[in-house]
Amino acid sequence: MFTPDNKDKILTGMIWSAAVLTMGFLIWILFYIVSNGIAYVDWSFITDDYTRTGDEEGIWPMIMATLYMVLLSISIAAPIGIMTAIYLTEYAKPGSKLVKLIRFCTEALAGIPSIVYGLFGMTFFVVALGLGFSILSGALTLAILILPVIIRTTEEAIISVPLSYREASYGLGASRLYTIWRVILPAAMPGIVTSLILSIGRIVGESAPVFLTAGMVARIPDSVFDSGRTLTVHLYMLTTELYTQHDWNMAFATATVLVLLVLAINLITKFITNKFSKATY
């Protein structure tokens, strides 16, 4: 019964079913969300303000808050993350205690549950530093949260820059800084872009650490010291306060926009990465 051929067939069957299951779940979730929501996504839904008196029910303020959050957290985390990756790959002695410490810490950061970031952000940025519920508190918290993603992915990208480039550059008497700037960073660019876009996905997708630090005011923030409600927080609030069929429709519509946004981010990643890799190779 269990001849090698039969075993092969059974295992092949299992592999195919796993793949089908994975795709099935994905299609199911997407179809469920989008089919229920797409009917209510129109131009005014996206560009209108959000009011509770009922005249406008758009998600524009949430889109803006999300955008602010993304820009601010990325501009805090990206330089730090990229420079850390450079330090780890180009400067630090591999295997030294320092590297081990840094790596352990980034790995720990990567594994800390996001709710713990929320707790920390609330205690530290909101209360201890007195920044209050604000885009800034939120962005600082999220910056720490995405730091490991940027560090790890950038590190991978830098490591995979062929050793031959490095040898050639050093062989020509170039300094380390020059080599990094002219050769390594350009060659690692596709990977760095990927890491940034992964981080954007993470920022867009977080809820708990965001509303614990940035609050949930549904208004376009005037400055980084204002509170703001990101799309995901908005969706979360909608789901806890679903009263009428109309609320449901709005929740599905918001979820649809979120999914489409994530899809757009992924496609942009692909596009930019391809463009960069064509430019350099």
């Binding site: 591999p94 040898e167 062989g171 020509l172 300094s175 002219r182």
Partner: protein, 251 residues
């Protein structure tokens, strides 16, 4: 009296625990071509990379002994970057940077802070001429280096090295990835280079060593078995192992 560019004394090199070079004693003469030959893994590349301290890039390398370039101990008080500018290096697989032909050749000068366009243009042209590549690329200096063929890329790497105005050119199997025609071009080029530079070349082809080298050094398992005039090594080797290798008994 012949002058020596390099004088290597009692050199040991370890990759971690593993000894790759064993008490090497060797002098590399000025403005001549010296070839390193020997079976795979015998330490040819390792020794070559010791000459411009390229092994510094590898973690866990320990070096004992002395390497002197023009009398200065390169492992003592020497600026590594200056050393590498004086000892250009060409690798087995052509490794142009992912940028234009012009940028590739100007790279080393720019890294030293040279900015003047005229100066750079001149250096680039001279270097490409010396590398016998100018005629082929003069109309597309600003197109991407990856558009060149394998042999052209290798000559580009040589040009890039020449542009640094080095004293020495170190070559690690520069033709082993090339077809016979491209190989012939590079070998011709080497005929010209020997007039101006001290050349050290690692090769696995004994025929090539014989064709181009003034001096040949034969290595076996980390040891320098024998070195001397190329003719003498190939026609009257003193060591039985050298004889075995060149007559094809092993390797």
């Amino acid at each position: 009296m012949t002058m020596n560019t390099f004088e290597i004394k009692d050199l040991d090199l370890y990759y971690g625990e593993n000894q790759a070079l064993k008490s090497i004693e060797l002098a590399i003469p000025h403005k001549q071509v010296t070839a390193f030959i020997g079976p795979s893994g015998c330490g040819k590349s390792t020794l070559l990379r010791t000459l411009n301290r390229m092994n510094d890039l590898i973690a866990g390398v320990t070096i004992n002994g002395q390497v002197k370039m023009d009398g200065a101990d390169i492992y003592a008080d020497v600026d590594v970057r200056k050393l590498r500018m004086r000892c250009g290096m060409v690798f087995q697989k052509a490794n142009p940077f992912p940028m234009s032909i012009y940028e590739n050749v100007a790279y080393g000068q720019k890294a030293q802070g040279v900015k003047d366009k005229k100066t750079l243009d001149k250096i680039v042209e001279d270097a490409l001429r010396s590398a016998a590549l100018w005629n082929e690329v003069k109309d597309r200096l600003h197109s991407h280096a990856f558009g060149l063929s394998g042999g052209q890329q290798q000559r580009l790497c040589i040009a890039r090295t020449i542009a640094m105005k080095p004293d020495v050119i170190l070559m690690d199997e520069p033709t082993s990835a090339l077809d016979p025609i491209a190989t012939a071009r590079i070998e011709e080029l080497m005929e010209d280079l020997r007039k101006e530079f001290t050349v050290v070349i690692v090769t696995h082809s004994m025929a090539q060593a014989r064709r181009i080298a003034d001096k040949t050094a034969f290595f076996l398992m980390g040891e320098l078995v024998e070195h001397g005039e190329t003719e003498q090594i190939f026609t009257a080797p003193k060591d039985k192992r050298t004889h075995g290798y060149i007559t094809g008994d092993f390797g």
